[in-house]
Amino acid sequence: MRVTATRAARRRGVALTALTAAGALALTACSGDSGALPSDDDGGGDGNVEIRFAWWGSDDRHKTTQQIIDLFEEKNPGITVVPDYTDWDGYWDKLATATAGGDTPDVITQEERYLSDYASRGVIGEMTGVDTSEIPADILSTGEVDGKLVGIPTGVNAYAMVADPQIFADAGVEMPDDTTWTWDEYVDIAGKISKGAGDGVWGAQDYGFNEAGLNVLARQKGETLYNADGTLGVSKETVAEFFQTSLDLMANGGQPDASRSVEYQNAGPEGSLLGTNAGAMGVWWSNQLGALSDASGHELELLRLPGESEFERTGMYFKPAMYYSISAKTEHPEESAKLVDFLLNDPEVAKLQLTDRGLPANLTVREAILPELAAADQKVADFMAALEPDIVDNPAVPPNGANEIQDIMIRINTEVLFERMTPDEAADAFLKDVGAAIGG
């Protein structure tokens, strides 16, 4: 009697332990994923397919994208799209972790600095079954890695000089002709604005934290940041010249001191010189004109970067804002392609997202949304249309490891601004560090 009681108790104990363990397991398993992954996948025969679509962005983008997904599901019964979104900073951590865990989303939003890393490691595959006939060939080719189309550009941006005509006027300085102005004139103009506009207002925000400006300068000189074969294509002299411009601007008062430049760099569009009405010029991607204009309350203009007619050729180019790619291991390649096709080519989609994923790469779609654009976006569209004939070519996809250039650029430019490195030393360090990043 007593024996059986103990045994029963023991059995109960074991069962309870197992139950607790199972509970703990379930708990940890739940917290492990985003909670967006249902287990009742397609199920085979009934034709109900589930695909996951990953993107980064702001709340606005999440809302419009959800509307777009609803529209897609309505038009394509039998396909369910699971949204998987986060902000820019968390996006790449999350995507890399999901990939490591064998849980890659089916449709992945990509960016040029990561495209090669993901393509060469076989995470994203060749795009098939998507109609790309409406996208200009020179833009479509920016999604090719090793001759294979692995990402389709959603839209394009240009790296441009944003200017505040009101501050120019306050300082008594005329707006430059952006097709002919040189880098020296840029330094000169910025210095004059700082003098003319009074205390706490500067000519320009430092441009050296972003490698895109260096790429434009390199291209003007017939070089390029990266060659098509993935090696560095910029000379030491050009890099040194690029950093020297910042020093010249500090020397003539055209831009703030080093500490303030670092702070403005960290402050985003809203806290930038232009955004806080504390400066007349700054280089930005064209799609940020809206955010900058909203923050400043002024009507801002887009200008081409200086030096477009100074050297061998023009350096400005169209950069794909982002790409749509499809996981190489997706179980539903057809449905995924269908979604990408819809995102790129459906006019209703374009009317919902307007220029949020860049000025649409699909020309027919772009035409269709022009009348619906807000004033700032209208300006971007006009600027891009005027720029198009003067663009020689667009850069190739940056090589593996190119995402590290962001940190390298910030580090070396800060050394230059604080005068802890001469432009010459900075150029050496830049070539060495970037070379190591893309060689590895």
């Binding site: 990939t99 760099q265 910030i410």
Partner: protein
Amino acid sequence: MAVIQEVARTRGAARERRKGDGKAAALFLAPWFVGLVLVTAFPLVASLYLSFTDYSLLEAPGWIGLENYTAMFSDPRFFQALKVTFTYVLVSVPLQLAAALALAMVLDKGLRGLAFYRSVYYLPSLLGGSVAIAILWRQVFGADGLVNQVLGFFGIEGVGWVSHPDYALGTLMILNVWTFGAPMIIFLAGLRQIPAMYYEAASIDGAGRWRRFRSITVPLLTPIIFFNLVLQLIGAFQSFTQAFIVSGGTGGPVDSTLFYTLYLYEKGFSSYQMGYASAMAWFLLLVVAGMTAVNFLASKFWVFYDD
């Protein structure tokens, strides 16, 4: 004879009961144990394995032996990260403990509204590691921030405290010192444990305030000081959030706030060198374990246990 049997029986019963207790204990420990295995032990072992591979996160890992460890010792940024972290730990932890002890002694005087003050001073400990406070500090210590406006009032021209490479780390140290609340609470509890009669006796013998502090408070408080020291050292080695936010994730300006953990994160998630990052994690573990061991060994010479 009967007594012996009685004793044996009681022992048997006790053993029986202990066995039952063991089962209950196992039951209650199970959730913790499962958590430990899944969330701590398994990743720990996995990262040890990964530290010997070229794991990129995107592809399957390949064995490369000790290559990550040898690469570490020819990486100048690795040494910069070590330098920054050690400077931070060795300067800010003693300062933080000194501040905590000083405040605890003041509060121990039995002020009115003690609970209120205790909570107020404890608050920074809760907030100090948070993203919001790091952002606030970025503003307050900016070139045009609150601190410089106050300094400007006295005719002093300040610098960009978090954006200048010579000052950024110092500013983060102050932020760490400011979060003295947790060790302060522990010191406060320790001070309460010291019997008042020691002080009374010392006063009668003519000991002054400093003498009483040095000869009674400090020796009797050494176990608490030791405990706080170990905890804060380990915590400081793992600092991440403040530097990450203040420098925009880069460890800048020019690597002046490149904390070890920040560099580790950068290697793993933006350079896709998770193998290297794992090796760095294991090296950090060894360093922290070594520091703690030295701490424990040294404690024999200065920590005084009253019992």
